[in-house]
Each structure stands twice: as structure tokens, then as C-alpha cells.
């Protein structure tokens, strides 16, 4: 089964919309045959990417949107989150595990996404930054036996 877009959501950059994103994600999960642990990893990672896009990308400007696209094939899930900001260099984000950063209340999102997802890439785009995250399914994402994502 080829990689197929199964959902798309666009939300204004205000934090009260994080709950809408979570509801959207949970709705998409109903069609998948995956352990709750895997789904939680994906839900947490989406929340991290959207939060970053709203706060750091779009500077909480409600006029700027965050676009979330969700793709599935039999072998993996792909999440794409795009903001309308000016982009950033992921390698310049301070390491939250350093002693001097441990008591900071933010700055752990990238670390958590990289830990929970199997692949995380940042793609600067005209008019925004895009983050693409893949999570492999331990078995067929749909519960069948097809393992081909060609």
C-alpha cells in the first residue's frame, strides 16, 4: 500500500488550539491497528511539533497557521507539520540536559520528538519551516499483513 494522506488540519497559532490538534490525531488513530504505546508516541510528537510551530515559528500570531498532514502506509506513519515562520537551525537549540538548563520550563521538545519517533527531519520551505517525522509500525499499520510502502 503506498504512502497515503489520511488527514489534514490547519489551526491558528494560539495554544488553545492544541486540544483541537489532539482530537484530530485521536480521530485518525481509530483507523489504525497499533498499540496504544505507539499511538501515544505519535500524539506526543505531534503536540511537540505543533507547539514549536506555534510558539517559535509563528510567534503565537493567530493570523499565521500551522498545517498538520498525516500520512500512512502499511509500514510507517508520517507526520508533517509546517509553520509560516522564518525558520531556525535545530543544531543551535541548547541541550536541555546540560546542568544549567535542567530547571528551564521549556526547550525539550526536539529532544523528545527525536527520542519517540524513528526519523525526524527539518525542511526549510519558502514561507515556513516543515518538520517531517516517521514512526515505523511494529506490524502492518492497518493490522493486515501487507508490508510494502512502494
Amino acid at each position: 500500500m503506498p504512502l497515503k494522506k489520511v488527514g489534514e488540519l490547519s489551526v491558528p497559532s494560539t495554544l488553545d488550539h492544541l486540544a483541537d490538534v489532539d482530537q484530530f490525531t485521536e480521530g485518525l488513530f481509530r483507523n489504525l491497528a497499533l498499540p496504544r504505546e505507539i499511538l501515544d508516541d505519535v500524539a506526543i510528537s505531534i503536540s511537540e511539533a505543533v507547539n514549536n510551530a506555534m510558539v517559535h515559528g509563528n510567534k503565537l500570531d493567530p493570523a499565521r497557521k500551522v498545517l498538520i498532514r498525516f500520512y500512512v502506509c502499511s509500514r510507517y506513519l508520517r507526520l508533517v507539520v509546517r509553520d509560516q515562520g522564518t525558520g531556525f537551525q535545530p543544531e543551535t537549540v541548547p541541550d536541555p540536559r546540560q546542568e544549567q538548563n535542567l530547571l528551564k520550563t521549556s526547550g525539550r521538545g526536539l529532544l523528545i520528538m527525536r527520542h519517540l519517533m524513528d526519523r525526524v527531519t527539518f525542511q526549510p520551505r519558502r514561507g515556513g519551516m516543515q518538520i517531517v517525522m516517521d514512526k515505523y509500525c511494529p506490524q502492518d499499520c492497518y493490522g493486515g499483513t501487507e508490508r510494502n510502502c512502494a
Binding site: A19, D22, E37, D40, S47, L103, R108
Partner: protein, 115 residues
């Protein structure tokens, strides 16, 4: 996210339910902690046994709570930390700053008696 609060032996126990994902609920949570500290409470337990999942904003809420309580000369202990949350504590190294117990009773017993 929903928070149930009860007091036992002058310790305030906050049982957190649902998803700790940030947003307006996180702001309310911080205000609640500040209010309890202003009321004079100094011993706190956050019971995390009913937390479905937590992201970095949720971790930030715990750290914000710890800072508020410690700055007032108080103590915070965590109880019933799930395996998933513990794994986040490990990768972020927050395991080094939080005092955690398997149960609320163990956390309660860890406070010095009579103080």
C-alpha cells in the same frame, strides 16, 4: 487535564488526570500551585498515576511547580510515575531533580513527621 486536590497530614496531594500537554490548562495549573503556596502549604505530592501522557510542556509544568514550591521553602515529591513518564525523565535527565515514589503513601511517609 484535570486536577483533584486533597490534604492529608498537612501535605497537599494533587492527583493529575489526563494529558499534560500545555496550553491554557498549564497556566491554570501554575496559578493553582502559587495559590496553594500563598495559602501556606509547603508540602506537596503530585500523583501522576492517572496521567495518560505528558509532553515537554507537561514536564515544564512539573518544573514550574517544583520551582514555585522550593522558592517558598517547601518540598515536592512525585508519586506513581508511570513507565512512560519515567522514560521521559531519563532522556531529559529530569530524573536527577525530582524525588519520586512508587505510591502516594510512600511519598507521604517520606516527609519528616511533625514538620
Amino acid at each position: 487535564m484535570r486536577v483533584e486536590t486533597r490534604e492529608q497530614d498537612s501535605v497537599l496531594i494533587l492527583k493529575i488526570h489526563g494529558k499534560m500537554m500545555g496550553g491554557p490548562e498549564a497556566t491554570t495549573f501554575q496559578e493553582t500551585i502559587k495559590q496553594h503556596v500563598a495559602e501556606g502549604y509547603r508540602k506537596f505530592i503530585f500523583d501522576l498515576g492517572e496521567v495518560d501522557w505528558m509532553n515537554s510542556s507537561g514536564l515544564g509544568s512539573l518544573i514550574g511547580g517544583l520551582t514555585t514550591i522550593k522558592n517558598a521553602g517547601g518540598e515536592l515529591k512525585l508519586a506513581a510515575v508511570t513507565e512512560k513518564i519515567h522514560s521521559l525523565f531519563l532522556i531529559t535527565k529530569l530524573v536527577t531533580i525530582f524525588e519520586s515514589y512508587d505510591t502516594v503513601d510512600e511519598a507521604l511517609n517520606s516527609f519528616p513527621a511533625g514538620k
